[in-house]
């Protein structure tokens, strides 16, 4: 399965590139990731969250990169979900913003992991990556993922429609939400 998405971020190319190049930042906006840990200059360890099924982890390495232009990575070893990713950074015509283009390719397996992933992406797999990039834009332009009363949990928002009502959260909702 190949997913593509693109967005424009009102920050200079080197800043956007540097944020993405530090893969440990990816879980702040990518809904399916719990954690990414750098294990070397070009290698990293990725942990997927509940959407991909529990305990889905893999190692990845950067296979190609050009400063402030592109980063290409792929999973290595016996990944449950072999995958590759490419992100390109281009100056936007306005002279201040950066256009970001992402391509992710997943080799979806059979079994429970494959089912969990199919369910996660649903009928509109591109929507997930679109929402990831919207959150990337929020983080880089405003400092964090934007929350509302109806969608209070940042990157989990999309999975919760219809949402909780647009009214303030109770104490227990705040506590339980923070735990998850």
């Amino acid at each position: 399965m190949e997913l593509t998405a693109t967005t424009t971020i009102r920050k200079p190319v080197p800043e956007v590139y540097a944020f993405w190049r530090d893969f440990e930042n990816l879980p702040t906006f990518m809904a399916h990731l719990d954690e990414v840990r750098a294990t070397g200059d070009r290698t990293s360890h990725w942990v997927a969250g509940a959407p991909f099924g529990k305990d889905v982890e893999w190692d990845a390495e950067i296979v190609d990169e050009a400063l402030s232009e592109k980063i290409v990575w792929r999973s290595i070893g016996n990944a449950d979900v072999p995958n590759t990713g490419t992100v390109r950074f281009m100056p936007a015509p306005d002279g201040v913003s950066t256009e970001v283009q992402v391509v992710l390719v997943y080799d979806i397996p059979g079994g429970t992991v494959g089912k969990a992933i199919a369910k996660y992406f649903g009928e509109e797999p591109h929507q997930q990556l679109d929402d990831d990039l919207r959150r990337l834009k929020q983080v880089l332009e405003t400092g964090e993922v934007v929350r509302s009363d109806g969608a209070p949990w940042g990157k989990r928002a999309r999975k919760e429609f219809p949402q909780r009502p647009a009214q303030p959260l109770s104490d227990s909702e705040l506590v339980n939400g923070a735990d998850e």
Partner: protein, 391 residues
């Protein structure tokens, strides 16, 4: 706290809900001192805006005192104790739309942008109390509200103007003003405004302030037309006269140079069969919007004129007079108001006495009587023009 909530179609209910908390670093919590019911709230209650949910706190016109600020709020811009008017579109101040002062199209403030994008092609900003399509933010018909990006939008009121003088800077005064501004008014212009509700009244006042030669008010409620007439505008009652003929009489046969639609998707029509046509199509969801005012504005406007749309549309309409629009070189301009752009200059106009927003207020009720306020306003009972609620 007490808050007025959406409780299904044609039903609002004041309930006890939790007090709001800081969720993002640049949030503030405002203790609300005055809030209002907007004509666009009626579209929500009447069920024409999708993605409302039972329990949603309504209201997007409010002001009050800052009682808490998040750690990311710039103290040079906002502090605890500040008295603020809050603009209804939530805007981050950092994206491309905000940089272009298109605040109601902010690219970051709507957590449900993916859903809005499906409906509108591109997403719109988050709005307070205005469905989950615009973010699912609790509104301001309440005792307290959480205000995101609090160091961007809210306008500090440092003079001794009363709440009622500045409250409408949150929406309807800037909305009416933008409707007039989009008309590029010249001193020879006759400006016709469809709808003499509060937004229409402010569009008329703004057209006058911007130098129009004559301003015409079109409505069917005598008390609303009288209110416009008292402010110096020329009334036309569409239940008593044929609007197009009357407009030709009033403009030497030219038609109004500039036309403002301050009605939107729930228009009524003097001709019963045309009204029925759209009402039925809307009821069975073959169209979501009843566009009589817009159609009539396009057909009435002089060739080369401007039709400025500030009445709210939500989805799709039909019988759009594209032929008149195209062949007669009309310019159609529109938008949800970019309120942040207009708050300071309009505050100055209020301070100088050029605009008096209090003139539309007819009812003042405690928040707990919000349900009655909605009924008065919706059914145009007791000459209701604008309801201010006091929490």
């Amino acid at each position: 706290m007490r808050a007025n909530t959406w409780a299904g179609r044609n039903k609002v209910e004041v309930r006890d809900v939790p007090d709001p908390r800081i969720l993002n670093k640049r949030d503030a919590i405002v203790r609300i001192t005055s809030t209002a019911i907007c004509g666009s709230d009626l579209h929500l209650v009447d069920g024409y805006v999708p993605t409302m949910q039972d329990g949603d706190v309504m209201g997007h016109e409010f002001m009050g005192e800052v009682i808490e600020v998040g750690p990311g709020v710039d103290p040079d811009r906002l502090r605890i104790g500040d008295r603020v008017v809050v603009p209804f579109p939530i805007a981050c101040g950092a994206c491309g739309a905000c940089a272009a002062e298109l605040y109601s199209c902010c690219e970051n403030s709507n957590p449900n942008a993916g859903i809005a994008e499906k409906m509108f092609g591109h997403p719109v900003a988050g709005f307070f109390g205005y469905s989950h399509l615009t973010g699912g933010f609790a509104g301001g018909q309440a005792q307290y509200a959480r205000v995101p990006f609090a160091d961007v939008g809210p306008l500090k009121i440092e003079s001794d103007l009363t709440d009622e003088q500045v409250l409408f800077l949150s929406d309807i005064l800037p909305t009416g003003y933008m409707g007039a501004e989009m008309c590029d008014i010249q001193s020879s212009d006759v400006v016709a405004v469809w709808g003499a509700g509060p937004v229409g009244q402010f569009a008329m006042d703004s057209a006058r302030v911007l130098g129009a030669a004559k301003v015409i008010a079109i409505d069917k409620e005598p008390y609303r037309l009288q209110m416009a007439e008292r402010a110096g505008h020329t009334p036309v009652n569409f239940e008593e006269v044929d609007v197009r003929s009357r407009l030709l009489e009033l403009t030497g046969g030219r038609g109004p140079d500039k036309c403002i639609d301050a009605v939107g998707l729930e228009a009524t029509h003097g001709s019963a069969h045309i009204a029925a046509y759209d009402r039925i199509k809307q009821a069975v969801r073959l169209e979501t919007d009843r566009p009589h005012a817009l159609r009539q504005a396009i057909l009435s406007c002089r060739s080369g004129g401007v039709v400025s749309v500030i009445g709210v549309y939500g989805g799709l309409l039909d019988k759009f007079p594209a032929g008149a629009w195209m062949n007669r070189a009309l310019t159609l301009r529109t938008g949800q108001c970019h309120v942040q752009r207009y708050m300071k200059p309009l505050l100055q106009r209020i301070e100088r006495g050029e605009l008096d927003p209090t003139r539309v207020i007819t009812h003042r009720l405690p928040l707990d009587e919000a349900e009655r306020g909605f009924e008065l306003f919706k059914n145009k009972q007791d000459n209701c023009e604008k309801v201010v609620l006091k929490p």
